[in-house]
Symmetry: C2
Subunit: 339 residues, 2 copies
């Protein structure tokens, strides 16, 4: 395959097999009607010559490129990466290639990338972003699925992790363990995720007959904030006012656990801690390892890919609007002693 001359074309195969180009095409694509012997002879010739069909030329006549675009609003980051991974995987089995484009929050760059994707005649586009804040839909003449960052248009297809379900899992877990009074350390107040998680937490707690102690603490998604927030929870209290702290991310939870230990409290015996994200470097570095929620982002990427494929084949069955995918609770030492 490493010769430098032009690659093997279909006519070369045709000549080698003593048939016409159209016959080669039919043989290799299992179309038309050919004798089994002919098919075999062509196939044999094809891979003897190392023939690899030109996808571009094929796309031209089939009016289908088998390429999808993956447009990321920002950089490909910690969240969009697994999504992309899942999508790429799902597509690869269907012989579909993935073209990546990152807009870096720049509208001009985004437009530029969209133009290129259109020029490439992609069969469809998946749009991602790092937050779950709704975004302006993109205007293109091909199917689009939004993953992680939903479209503001309810007629578009969006796939999101079900944060509300995640919080219910957490509350359920804590209730089973006997906790009744919990505090919440949240992330940035201006992000959808923070508000959704808080709301879901409050609701789930109410249903379970449990109590959210103190104001929810909004801050940022950083360890320093996590540590500071713990101090606020424990503010001038001889006895801890709660038995568990639900954190909106693993980063916050890890910092919380650190701070609690520094303040002489044992996790989980004195206070249990839960995180969110199942981010390996965080949950495993925490002492003890974190009980957390896995959003199953890779599955989300796969699902987005499936929906897009269905949409491309005009056979989509899922709901328009936002589809929520169930997360998974992972119980570890930060809530279960001796784990």
């Amino acid at each position: 395959m490493k010769q430098d001359g032009r690659l093997v074309r279909i006519v070369d195969v045709a000549r080698a097999a003593g048939v016409s180009p159209s016959t080669v095409s039919k043989a290799l694509n299992d179309s038309g009607s050919l004798k089994a012997a002919t098919r075999e002879r062509v196939r044999e010739a094809a891979d003897r010559l190392g023939f690899v069909s030109d996808a571009g030329a094929r796309a031209l006549s089939m009016r289908r490129t088998f390429i999808v675009g993956l447009l990321s609003t920002d950089d490909i980051g910690r969240f969009s990466m697994p999504v992309m991974q899942g999508a790429e995987n799902a597509f690869a089995v269907g012989e579909i290639s993935t073209l990546v484009a990152t807009a870096r929050h720049d509208a001009v760059r985004e437009q530029h990338h969209l133009r290129t994707l259109i020029a490439r005649r992609v069969d469809g586009i998946i749009v991602t972003g790092k937050t779950t804040d709704p975004r302006e839909p993109i205007e293109v003449p091909v199917p689009v699925v939004y993953a992680l960052a939903p479209s503001a248009d309810p007629d578009d297809i969006s796939v999101l992790p079900d944060d509300a379900a995640g919080m219910r899992l957490v509350v359920d877990h804590l209730r089973t363990l006997g906790h009744r009074r919990v505090a919440h350390i949240a992330g940035r107040a201006d992000q959808n995720t923070s508000r959704v998680r808080l709301a879901a937490l409050q609701e789930a707690l109410a249903e379970a007959g449990m109590e959210l102690v103190g104001e929810p603490l909004f801050g940022e998604w950083s360890e320093p904030w996590g540590r500071r927030a713990v101090d606020l929870v424990l503010r001038d209290a001889a006895e801890p006012p709660v038995t568990a702290i639900v954190c909106a991310s693993d980063q916050l939870a890890r910092a919380a656990a650190d701070r609690l230990r520094e303040r002489g409290l044992r996790v989980p015996d004195d206070i249990a801690v839960t995180g969110y994200d199942n981010w390996h470097v965080m949950w495993s570095a925490s002492r003890p390892p974190l009980t957390t929620v896995d959003m199953e982002l890779e599955a989300l990427g796969r699902r987005a890919a499936e929906r897009l494929l269905a949409e491309i084949q005009e056979a989509d069955t899922g709901p328009r609007g936002i589809e929520y995918l169930p997360p998974r609770l992972v119980a570890r030492g930060s809530t279960i002693a001796g784990d």
Copy 2:
């Protein structure tokens, strides 16, 4: 642009402008010889109709797809991501699109992806991986550049971060601050990176007339190991045997700083700590923030893209074999008090 019928073709523009298709092509590509007025008229018609040239068809006649493949040996991870980002950026300005393929350490998957890339007639391929261990070169009929994971073949083009230079920066920094006796916490012994960093450290220390105290400590790339390693350094010593600990990663350094604080030692006053990677979540969460080395992976991705482009245009000037790119030292509180 959101009509559902077929997209605007070059003949549509031709008709609208009252010229032939070939004239449209020339007008839009600034080729051939046309009156300025004609060119303008065609252009005007083209974007009035929202014409976007079909890249596939164009590729077919130009024998150049303006697509490159980005093949990752493993998943796209923390290290390959910025590389990919840098490459994608560099390519985007040249109107080149990036096709991603992740092999997940699976030879079969890798072969499969290579076949698809060849079928797509990519102009070239960038190969990455997460470690700097040399890898088997790939066999393809197009130019290839290896980034991060070098090819075992010295005739191939590889671009790597200069870890030796990075370690020299660290030693230099510590020497300036008056340190003479340092310990080293390394990562996995079976990885090239670990050995290279250690060797460079030893050499730089020798040159600077400084001393590496104790055996280098190999372990894993995790915080638990970082903490344990600190205990080994301080083992049954009333007084710390060193004034600085050079860690092979930010993760290790952050854990080391944590552990030192727990043992009642002040960083950097009693012992200074350095990391490697400039990994934001690690250096910023550390108390104090970490002095570390930034490998400039995004620049590395850009460089890889440049080399590949040059190679595609048969105008490469850089050296065959491995090209090392200079890292950058970032000084922070873990070595400089009051920072």
